[in-house]
Every structure is written in C-alpha cells, then in structure tokens.
Symmetry: C2
Subunit: 226 residues, 2 copies
DNA sequence: AGCTTCAGTTATATCCTCTCACAAACACGC
DNA sequence: GCGTGTTTGTGAGAGGATATAACTGAAGCT
C-alpha cells in the first residue's frame, strides 16, 4: 500500500490524457461558433459522450478548462512564430517579415483563440494571471530574438527606456539583448496586437481597407527606423 | 383624435427615460466589478428596485442593454477626445499629445468600458455590428481631424494606400483629409489600441515597465515621422 | 369619467455551473 | 485469481441566470 513501485507512464493516465484532449477539442469547436460565452460544459460533455458532472473529474471548473485552452493557444502561437522565424533566410528583415506574417496569419486563422489569449485573463480570474503571463513568454521570446538580430544598431527611440527593461529581461534570463531591442520589441508587440485586434473584429473590413500595407509599414518602420 | 397637437416630450416618456438611465448606471457599476460576465439582469433590477422581468420593458434583452452601453461608451470617449483636442493650443503636436493622453486616460479610468468597446461586438451579435461601427465614428473623426492638422506634409508611409482610403472617407463625409492622413490615422488608432489593451490588462505592469515613454514615442513618430 | 395603455409582479420554462452520494469498472498486490 | 481501493461516471439537486406568459394595478389621454 505505502511504497509501491510506479509502473511508469501509467495505463490509466493515458486514457485520462486522451479524454482531456477530446474535451479540449470539443471546447475549441464550440468556441469557434459562438465565442467564449457559448462554451457550455454540458454541451461539451454531451459531444464527448458523457454527462455534465463527469467533466469535473478532468477539469476543476469552467475557468480551469478555459485557462488550459489559453495556455495551449499560447504554445501554439509560439511554435507558429518559431517556425516562421526558422523558415526564412538569415536576413534579419526577411525573418521579421515572416514572423509578423505568421502572427497575423495565426490570429486570422483562429480568431476565437486569439481573442481568448487577450480576453480570458480579464474575465474574472486574475488569480492565474501569473501562470498565464508565463505562458505568453515563449511567443514573446521569439519576437525578441528576431528583433535583436536585426542589422539595425539603432538608438532607442523610447526615451528613458534605459533601465526599466533591465529587470524584466533579467527575470526571463535573456541577457544578450540590449534594452533598446527590448523596447522596440515591446512596441512591435503592441502595434501588432492593435492591428490584429482591429482586423479580426472586422474594423478594417467595415472601413473597406485592406490592412496588408499596414503590416508592411510596421515591418518597414522596424527594420528601417527613423 | 387624428391631428392632435403634440404636448411635447411626453410625461410618461420622461419617466421611462430616467428609469433606463438608472438601469444603465447600475449596469455600469456592476460591470466595473466583475466584468461583462458578472452583469446580471436580476441583480441590476434589484439594485434599481424592481424584479427581474420588469427590465424587459426597457431593454429587449441582455445584449440590447450591453449594446446601448457600448454606444454610450463610444460617445463618452468621443467627447473626451474632442475636449482634449479643443483644450490644447493651436500647435498640432501639442493637440495630438493631448488627444493621445486623453485616449489613454479614458481607457485607464474605466477599463471595463474600454474592454466593452472592443469586446462586445464579437460576442455573438453581428447584427448590430453596423450600428456599433457607426457609433465608433465620432471618436475616430476627432483623431482624424487632429492628425490632418499636423504640420507634417509627409509622404504616405503605407504603400499602395492611395485609393483604398478614398471611399471610406467619402462615406463618412470627410473630404478635406488626404489619403495619407487617413492611413496615418488608422495606424495611430491601431497602435494606441494595442498599447492601451496591453496596459489595461496589466501586461506592462507584469513586465515591470512604465508604458508612458511608449505613448510618447508613438506621438513622436507621428508628429516627426521617418 | 372611462377607456386604454403601460409598468411591474408572480409563476414558470429552460438553460447554466457545480456538489453530492452512489454504483460500476478497472488496476494492482497478494 | 481474488479481494481491495482508487478512479470514473451517473443521477439527483441546489442555486442562479435569461427570458416568456399571464395577470394586476395604476397611471395617462381624450
């Protein structure tokens, strides 16, 4: 009873993991049509083939499921960005273009998941905010990396940005990045988020505007500043 | 019976309007603590002094109430921006700084309302999307106006932006604005939205960054481009 | 003054999340 | 291969949400 030898991966755990995955994909499918409001545990359970309460064996509650979806989405976005960063040739500008494109494409392909990333934390659970912030780091690191390899030794355009980025970078273990790069990456991130947010909500469409040139301008301002 | 002289505003309508306003302020108070999810018609009714179903005399349903809140918020933001644009001296750069500041301040003062602006339309009711888009125009026009009066005759940084902004501007009756200005305004809007979104969600705080210099950089890039 | 219209109530249907108590199924040590 | 304990799923149900329907009372309008 007490000191039993673990058999390893566990046979039961495997089934459990698979059910969790099925639930999550059902949740994503439901999320895609109707937004986070329409995500109903009962309906998900029915789709998976169980009754409602059974889901609570796999997820603590509704927010727990949503939080995992957010973390998964962050991971997905990060790998999409990483692949784009790896795809392009060594040229810094091309890599940035590729990463920006990947960011936009990912958001456009799954707008409900993109919304989840920046919408979920504020719904009510600030408790897990830290874990969510951590989940966002890998994606950020890709951008940070690409920006840092731009062949543009440019003076920081952000006044007084000298020291305030330092502890942030130290905390995440990135030391080979200048503070100016960190500032520019932050700006780029905010700009991209703004453009993508407006695009997936259809603001550009309702204005009759093709946002592609706007993204190009963004990259250009980054590669070829001032 | 037929051709009666209208007594004016109507006595009953006045009461009705006041109740509607009370409901909306109660809704806003509830929105401020707990987000849009926590907005409960029952609780609102109790605060106003009625039972739940009575609210349906004043608003079609939950989304109807939310939509009105969104429209009101757009109006509020627009007047805040307009006041900021009027406050500053004639100098174009100072006016832009003031407007950007006002945009940020408004969002920080009432983050729940700001979230409502960009979150509500996507919840499910695309039907009213057009009315919401229209509601957003006045705020946009203020920014457009300020940007157009910048003393920077700058070539459009957005490639191929020449004609695509034209019909948009025509549709809203703004003709004294060059297409380059429209493109730059759109970019500024997106950038501001990105910065504000990240700020009110606490992303900068969690990074230990003071975003003020980022906004300043935004204005600087706008006033003093390339 | 009388008729009509509207505000607000109670009751109800249907949905949701989430807890609890119980039954069935499985893994594992002996 | 057999008990034993953990795990998984079910049904029942509490508590609350939106929304509808039928009814009551009190205003306003002519």
């Amino acid at each position: 009873m007490a000191t039993e030898g673990r058999t390893g991966p566990g046979l039961r755990d495997r089934f459990r993991a698979q059910v969790r995955q099925e639930v999550k994909t059902a949740a994503l499918r439901q999320l895609a049509e109707g937004g986070p409001e329409a995500l109903s545990l009962n309906a998900i359970a029915k789709q998976v083939g169980m009754t409602g309460p059974a889901l609570y064996r796999y997820f603590a509650n509704r927010d727990g499921l949503l939080t995992e979806l957010v973390i998964d989405a962050y991971g997905d976005l990060a790998s999409a960005l990483a692949q784009a960063a790896g795809d392009a040739a060594a040229d810094g500008g091309a890599r940035l273009t590729s990463v920006v494109q990947a960011y936009r494409d990912w958001a456009l392909a799954e707008p409900h998941r993109y919304r989840l990333l920046f919408r979920a934390p504020l719904q009510g659970y600030d408790a897990q905010a830290t874990s969510l912030v951590e989940a966002a780091q890998p994606a950020m690191n890709v951008v940070l990396n690409v920006v840092s390899h731009l062949a543009t030794p440019r003076a920081p355009e952000v006044a007084g940005s000298g020291s305030q980025f330092r502890n942030w970078m130290e905390r995440r273990g990135v030391e080979d990045v200048s503070e100016a790069v960190a500032a520019r990456t932050t700006m780029l991130w905010a700009h991209l988020h703004g453009l993508v947010s407006l695009e997936i909500e259809g603001n550009f469409t309702s204005m009759g505007i093709d946002p592609t040139p706007l993204y190009e301008a963004e990259v250009r301002d980054m590669v070829h500043p001032r």
